[in-house]
Amino acid sequence: MPRAFTPKVVTANALVEGDVVYLTTDDRWTRDLAEAELLTDEADADLRLLQAQARTSEVVGAYLADMRPGASGPEPAHFREAFRATGPSNRFHGKQSEGLRRA
């Protein structure tokens, strides 16, 4: 039996600001993980990644990140993505300070 597909979001860093962004269903880049499109189908995820990677004047380094479905949108499956979605733990900077994520 094939392994179950872990849900994903498309994420990258914004070209000018450098901060973490996520692809939404309506093709926007959002700063808030809760607004990201959760991709539950592998072929769909690969296609969305290719589309995102073509937007080279908007973002850098687009990739698929593992997520879990949560009550208010996707939640990181790995701690690295949790830090990307929140900000550093030693200073109240980044997304947590911009009200985009509750630390």
Binding site: N13, L15, V16, E17, G18, D19, V20, T56, S57, V60, G61, A77, H78, F79, R80, F83, R84, G87, P88, S89, N90, R91, H93, G94, K95
Partner: protein
């Protein structure tokens, strides 16, 4: 402090003009990221976890007040009001915007600073002894030689695409304060039969395969330095592996070819290189020496210093750790700890930077150093002025008296910032320092170096920590391996792993158990942690780390 020439100024201006145009072409879509990435890295601009990061070179860790004030200005104008001093004696800004970076580089150029070759497979910032020019045991100030190497290696056309990055350190004393033997090339200025020359060490490094440098040339005559370095780097450029990033450093080249075979290749390369130089480098060196302004120190009555030691126990405790003898007996070398208990190692706010600049101007002959241990140094302060310096530092939260103690921890940025990290390191350092402060034991513990890296690349020097901590990702959770017995001094040694790693919430208690075990095991207060470990070996420390766990499990 070295004074730059008009050539340097024009060079930086042209370089910044080019980069500004490259940034514009990237933003308007004429350059792809694949095209732009090597260009931004050449100018010290990384893309990290949450933002861009600009790494600014501080050549051999030397700053003056004007440079430090400009670093503070950058922090406030384009970042979040602080900067992070690194183990390579550079400073990093964690939150710049791409569009602002050309302006930041122009502002740096106004004070003769830049971010060139702080990334990429080039010869990186040359490091040196942070007590250079002040240490009683040095035979000469090593920084003119470091500056000569900086000038030679900057934009060196042959060495812009080495197999991997390349790091050089220069020292001039028996005591090694620059971790010289952990560099790709270590240069030690020595004297033999009255003649000045160099010991050349090669193939040191940390990373996933830590190695202590080996002696390539026992005595290199003074005039042969640059041709010999060039022969060495050229040999590495030719023999070094490009098929595997993890085997690409010169330490692997030396290891795989053998030191003797590598030396033979260097010696075979040397004559042509020597002939090409025609002595021009020696003219550069004497010119650099002339442009290095070293302060003339006057005789000063040191009585106020000794009086303050008697009347003020806080001052005395701070001075015991943070002030060391200067070669001028009326002066001291003052280390400013960037390791307040619970703070981020190496971070300084713009206000703190400006205060240090003021103190350097008022009391320190306009001289400031960055140490590889992520602290700052005022190398020339009259003993009589040190009480006033201490009082000013206290008001700015910079008077932590812990240099060389267990809370003076080196930590890389780790997963709080770094895109390569596998685990966090800063909060582990914060946790250990906070716990030590609660226990009030670190002055009793004495000299103990804890060094933490958040990945195998070992930017936090964990291999040479008396206690080294390496953060890894084990099945999706942070896990911390401990090594013991590493040594960053002239008796450089790589630490030995204790055994299985510890979870994030277990690592601080584990380090506490090690330190308490040392206090029980030592023969007396004069026996340091490292000495006790060398005498006793791993067994009792391993027991302190793991038997506790076994006991806890048995009790469940």
């Amino acid at each position: 402090m070295y004074r730059y020439t008009e050539f340097d100024t024009a060079f930086l201006a042209e370089r910044n003009r080019q980069f500004r145009a490259q940034v514009e072409r990237r933003i308007d879509g004429h350059l792809t990221e694949d095209e732009f990435r090597p260009l931004r890295l050449m100018n010290g601009l990384y893309l990290q976890l949450h933002a861009y990061m600009l790494r600014v070179a501080v050549p051999y860790g030397s700053l003056d007040a004007a440079k430090m004030r400009q670093l503070a200005y950058l922090a406030e104008r384009w970042d979040k009001g602080y900067g992070h001093f690194t183990t390579r004696t550079n400073i990093q800004y964690n939150w710049p915007k791409l569009r602002d970076v050309p302006d930041m580089l122009d502002a740096l150029a106004d004070v003769g600073m830049h971010a060139i070759q702080t990334s990429g497979n080039t010869i990186r910032n040359v490091t040196s002894d942070h007590f250079a020019g002040a240490a009683p045991d040095e035979i000469t100030d090593p920084r003119p030689v470091a500056e000569l190497i900086r000038q030679w290696s900057t934009d060196h056309p042959e060495f812009q695409f080495l197999p991997r990055k390349f790091k050089i350190a220069v020292i001039a004393s028996e005591t090694d304060r620059a971790v010289m033997k952990s560099h790709d090339i270590g240069v030690k200025i020595v004297e033999r039969d009255g003649a000045r020359g160099y010991e050349i060490w090669v193939g040191g490094g940390m990373g996933r395969t830590p190695m202590v440098a080996r002696l390539l040339r026992e005595f290199l005559p003074e005039a042969d330095l640059l041709p010999y370095l060039e022969a060495t780097v050229a040999t590495y450029n030719r023999l070094g592996r490009r098929d595997n990033k993890y085997k690409a450093r010169i330490k692997i080249t030396v290891h795989e070819n053998g030191l003797d075979a590598f030396r033979d290749e260097v010696e075979a390369e040397f004559p042509d290189r020597r002939a090409a130089f025609t002595g021009v480098d020696q003219a550069w060196l004497s010119d650099i020496r002339a442009r290095f302004v070293t302060p003339t120190l006057s005789e000063r009555d040191a009585a106020p210093y000794y009086a303050a030691r008697v009347t003020d126990p806080v001052f005395r405790a701070w001075a015991d750790t943070n002030v060391v003898p200067h070669r001028h007996p009326d002066h001291g070398i003052v280390s400013i700890s960037l390791k307040a208990h619970g703070a981020t190692p190496g971070d300084a706010s713009a206000d703190q930077m400006r205060l240090v600049a003021d103190l350097a101007e008022q009391y320190g002959h306009d001289d400031i150093r960055v140490s590889h241990a992520q602290n700052l140094v005022l190398p020339h302060v009259a003993l009589a002025d040190i009480p006033a310096v201490h009082a000013a530092l206290r008001e700015a939260g910079l008077a932590t008296g812990n240099i060389g103690l267990a809370s003076d921890i080196i930590a890389c940025p780790g997963m709080d910032y770094c895109a390569l990290a596998t685990a966090r390191s800063i909060p582990v350092a914060q946790g250990i320092a906070t716990r030590l402060e609660e226990l009030k034991i670190e002055h009793d513990v004495g000299h103990l170096q804890i060094k933490i890296s958040g990945c195998i690349n070992a930017c936090g020097h964990h291999h040479v920590g008396h206690i080294g901590i390496l953060g890894l990702d084990r099945a999706g959770v942070e896990n911390y391996q401990i090594t013991l017995g590493g040594d960053a001094s002239e008796s450089t040694a790589v630490g030995t792993r204790t055994g299985p790693g510890f979870a994030y919430d277990e690592i601080v208690p584990a380090v506490e158990r090690l330190i308490l075990a040392y206090l029980d095991l030592r023969e007396g207060p004069d026996e340091t942690f490292l000495q006790a470990y060398t005498r006793l070996g791993m067994a009792p420390f391993k027991s302190a780390l793991y038997d506790h766990e076994a006991r806890a499990h048995a009790a469940e």
